[in-house]
Amino acid sequence: MVVDKKIAEQNIWQILETVCDPEVPVLSILDLGIVRDVKIDNSPSTQDAVQGDGGIEIVITPTYTGCPAMDMITMDIKMRLLENGYKKIKVTSVLSPAWTTDWMSEAGKQKLKAYGIAPPYTRSDDTGDLVIECPQCKSTNTKLISQFGSTACKALYQCNDCKEPFDYFKCH
């Protein structure tokens, strides 16, 4: 039973890896650290869980309080699990502890960079002046255009060398 539950859990985490952030489609919700827990009720066997008898609960946390992507992410999680044969799915949102960019995976940061968004460089408690590297030409000669970018989680920068504007995923 215990082993079965573990396998079911692993299976669910693998499925969640395929759910992407609608605003930053190169990142999965696991890269972002949005998924906090996967709970399987009543310790069903893998079989039961897949058939939806046991019921599963996915616990997520919003990145920003007003992030409009959260409703869509909740829907995407349900849809993806339904496609994979799970039926009783509950997605719960928790606020505490508050999400931080420290939870973003290293792989996620690399994916962001390759996508053209500068990843959060420092840990969220670091308040020093930031040197943000241009994701296009790697120059560190960049300037802040606006603390608020195309989405709540990003700031707008410009590279002084290649002149390209780019998004920076803010430390949070």
Binding site: P62, Y64, T65, G66, C67, P68, V94, L95, S96, A98, W99, I145, S146, Q147, F148, G149, S150, A152, L156, K170, H172
Partner: protein, 243 residues
Amino acid sequence: MENKLIDYILSLADTTLILAQRNAEWCGHGPILEQDIAITNISLDLIGQSRNFYQYAANLIGGDATEDSLAYLRKEREFKNLLLVEQPNGDWGQTILRQYLFSQFQYLLFEKLEHSKDEQLAAITAKALKEIKYHVRWSSEWVIRLGDGTAESKTRMLKAIEELWKYTGEMFVPGEYEKEIDVTVLKDEWLQKVKIIFDEATLPLPENVFMQTGGKEGVHTEHLGYILTELQYMQRAYPNSTW
């Protein structure tokens, strides 16, 4: 006790919702694109905060109450928001000053509330604080830029202070349901912080201004009714409509 908590949560929800609605009026009208995006991003943060508060209040009220019914179906006299946040946008300077005066207060208040014994209140405010930090930084930079800017921008900031200062006293007068935090003790720290920014902006800190109150008890300036008319139009005209 429970009712007092509900009223308090609603007052926090109403204040954030109304300021969000005011800021959203700038959408597509900001002075430049980046700042249009900034003010609407702040609006979005505030809507998120108000949703969390309304959801929590709806939970405490129980029955048919939802975040939507609380936001869309309550009357003007039931709204407990601060008078400051319902004031018209005016020019960019007035909007900026209103944001700064409020964000600076909200930061100090939420710093206390994140340690509340009420777990949900603590969770909502701890999360919001991270966003408010940006609001304070952004709006204070603008106050400095405009105050210490051109003769024209300074004149406008002085006018904004004259318009808005009289609504700041209310923040530190507790409503009868406001038991969580003693807001009177926040006043000195708030004034100190504002003075630092005003000094840098070469703006005078007003003295001996008669302070307007009433918002916390549902007695508003004439502006709130117009805001709610627009905000609640859809649900009033087409009850229970959904997207």
